[in-house]
């Protein structure tokens, strides 16, 4: 008798109920703290909603009237909130598009270098570079704020000791570096400094997962270090690279703490990013309907960006 191919046994009724009940708490949690707030956020985008005004059912209607697509239209209008929204989008794009290449340019070669040294030193360097990543972003922002202080900050002290002029790093609205406002440039440096350890560790893991046989074969064929890196390592690192690029862009779109602590969006909205603007609209200006609308816009922008990245970086092979 032919042996039938093994079939996965279906769960018994008691096993099914066990699985369902085990999953129910996390499902309840996800629904209460993720799904329901998301539904609520979408709902209030159609209302001029503020919790400081009394409404009808669930606080909607009454003092929080239904306004249809008016909040969405406002984002593209010449109203003060529309203008600030577009400034915030522009600043966020500049930040995200600057952070990504800078981060990759620093972390990938660094990971390759660390991977090439002996095991003990590897651990030391990995720890050193990862320390900023595990440090509180508030603490990092405060310390860098002191470094950038124009009067007694470390940067200007060094510059003045070299006979150069100090700069108003976080408050000069007119100076630009590579076309980016100086305060924004400083925040990019701060963020990359804090965040690079995360990508570094991921790249190191990715490099370690590449089988040595490919490098050895290339070495035998006479490839030099640069050729092995460019033609062997980089292509085989593509899945890791895809992950790093997507995650870096995702987090760059949503950075809040350094902007809130270091500049609060100034000088003159030069560092006003989208999440900071959403926060201020919701809790400072008490316009939650409008803030939720901006959050929806942010969600769509991140979604489109991520889909484009996944499409461009997809690969049709694996090893």
């Amino acid at each position: 008798m032919a042996i039938a191919a093994s079939r996965r046994r279906p769960l018994s009724r008691s096993q099914q109920w066990f699985a369902a009940s085990a999953l129910t708490p996390i499902m309840l949690y996800m629904m209460a703290f993720t799904l329901l707030p998301m539904i609520w956020a979408v709902l209030i985008t159609f209302f001029r909603y503020s919790p400081t005004r009394q409404g009808g059912l669930l606080g909607l209607g009454g003092g929080n009237p239904f306004v249809g697509l008016s909040n969405y239209a406002d984002l593209f209008s010449d109203s003060p909130s529309g203008k600030l929204f577009r400034i915030a989008v522009q600043n966020t794009l500049i930040f995200a598009l600057a952070v990504l290449p800078l981060n990759l340019a620093l972390t990938l070669p660094l990971a390759a270098l660390i991977e090439s040294i002996n095991e003990r030193l590897k651990t030391v360097f990995r720890t050193i570079y990862f320390l900023p990543t595990v440090t509180s972003l508030v603490a990092v922002s405060l310390v860098w704020g002191v470094i950038y202080n124009p009067t007694f900050g470390l940067l200007n002290l060094v510059l003045r000791s070299l006979g150069l002029k100090g700069m108003a790093w976080l408050s000069d609205p007119q100076t630009k570096v590579l076309g980016i406002a100086l305060p924004m440039f400083c925040l990019i440096i701060t963020y990359v400094w804090q965040d690079m350890g995360y990508n570094l560790v991921i790249f190191i893991a990715g490099l370690q997962s590449i089988p040595d046989v490919f490098h050895e074969a290339a070495r035998v064929d006479g490839a030099n270090a640069w050729q092995r890196f460019w033609l062997i390592t980089l292509p085989l690192l593509r899945p890791t690279l895809t992950f790093v690029i997507v995650m870096t862009m995702l987090s760059s779109w949503q950075v809040f703490v350094i902007f809130y602590v270091m500049t609060r969006g100034g000088p003159g909205n030069a560092t006003r990013t989208l999440v900071l603007h959403i926060y201020e609209t919701a809790f400072r200006h008490q316009e939650m309907g409008l803030a939720a609308t901006m959050a929806m816009a942010l969600f769509l922008m991140i979604l489109v960006t991520t889909l484009v990245q996944l499409r461009v970086l997809r690969q049709e092979w694996e090893y």
Partner: protein, 457 residues
Amino acid sequence: MDIQVRRGLSRREFLRVMGVSAAGVLAAACGAPAAAPAAAPAEGEAPAAAGEKIILRMWSHQNTAFVQTNEQLISKWQEVRPEVEIKYENFPYADFIQTIQTSMAAKNEADVMEMFGSWVQSYAKGNTLSVVPEDIVSLSEARDLFYAAPLDGYVWEGKLFGMPNEYNLENGAVLTNKRMFDEAGIPFPPEWKSWDELVEHAKKMTKWDGETMTVAGFHYITGDGLGFLLWEGILERGGEYFAEDKVHLNFLTPQAEETVQWLADMAIKDKVVDPLTFNGSTNWVGDSFFQGMVAIGFIGPWIVPVARQNHPDFPDPWEYVSAPYYGEKMAFAADAGWGKVVSPNSKHIREAWEFAKFMTMDQANARQWNVGTGTVPALKSVAEDPTLLNDLNWLGPSLKVLPYGRFVGDLQDRDFVWYTVIETRITETLQGQHTVKECLQLMHDEANAMIDSKIGA
């Protein structure tokens, strides 16, 4: 062999599980129906039954001095009214605003809240605060008891929605560093007859290291400071910042232009402050003065308890000195400060207002609150008490100007006008990005566009 094939979870069973879960979540999220909000209690509302203990919740923000003082006064209240227990909770400042807003949406906010006066009108407009009962205090009585500037922040459409503890004052006095005055050979304390005299002294105390200003002679470039100086300058020059309709703002008056020009001249011509290195976010006056980087600082006396906590080792002697004013008579606008409001959803509105009155209108208690928190009194009898200066010895110059202030008024979105419009545009002007006329036009257009969006125009 008979093979029994068991089905996995069917679609119907899966949907049943999801439906039960969703119903459970909705039930938890919605909670029990909230009590219907009430305005003032009905006349002759019966007090709690004899022997029944009433529990009131009180919320405030988390500031060590505020919390300690509130706790002391709550203990005092418990001795007088043991049948009304106060459960006191406090929150970090940023969380406090969100907590109030989200709990109001769920109608389960605290019975009594210590709210900042600038917020009160927006909550009152939205019918989310209770009106003070006439027998607790009528509006006319309150006007006799409290200064106009702090009280009017708690008034909306002729009704009183709370009682202030604090007069949030920025104008009338400036912080001065005695050591710097002595080093510059300037008599201390100064008695300035005009802003020009102050600026002359400030110029002598301004210090540079090459092109970097290391000591600002007069630092006034802050989010709060620029707004308050703007209003004061306009009012003292005989102008008005509200337009004729009392809703919109008018920055296109000669008085506004003179005031902004004066602010710009101090930075650009007199160079008593470098707006690039001394402003609202860099070397903020509340810190830089107590780090020895500012000779004369424009900031309200509320900073003193904060500075004592943040800069306990500051060695230089300092004091508040009366600031000069423009013209014949002082006139300025002030925010309403911290005070007590009551939720319309409270189940014991009467007792809540009695507690709020205990904290704000009893002279001894109000005095204790001001001394404990280091704030300027809103209650006239406390401010006029000559022994107050024994406990708050830096307040002397500030107390003299209290009668000359008025409430800043309903700006629709106070923070937008103050920080997004005034602070941004005037700082940019001081930094050379706009002329004075351009600045005024920008402020006028942006502030009024916001007002239009708020009033639905």
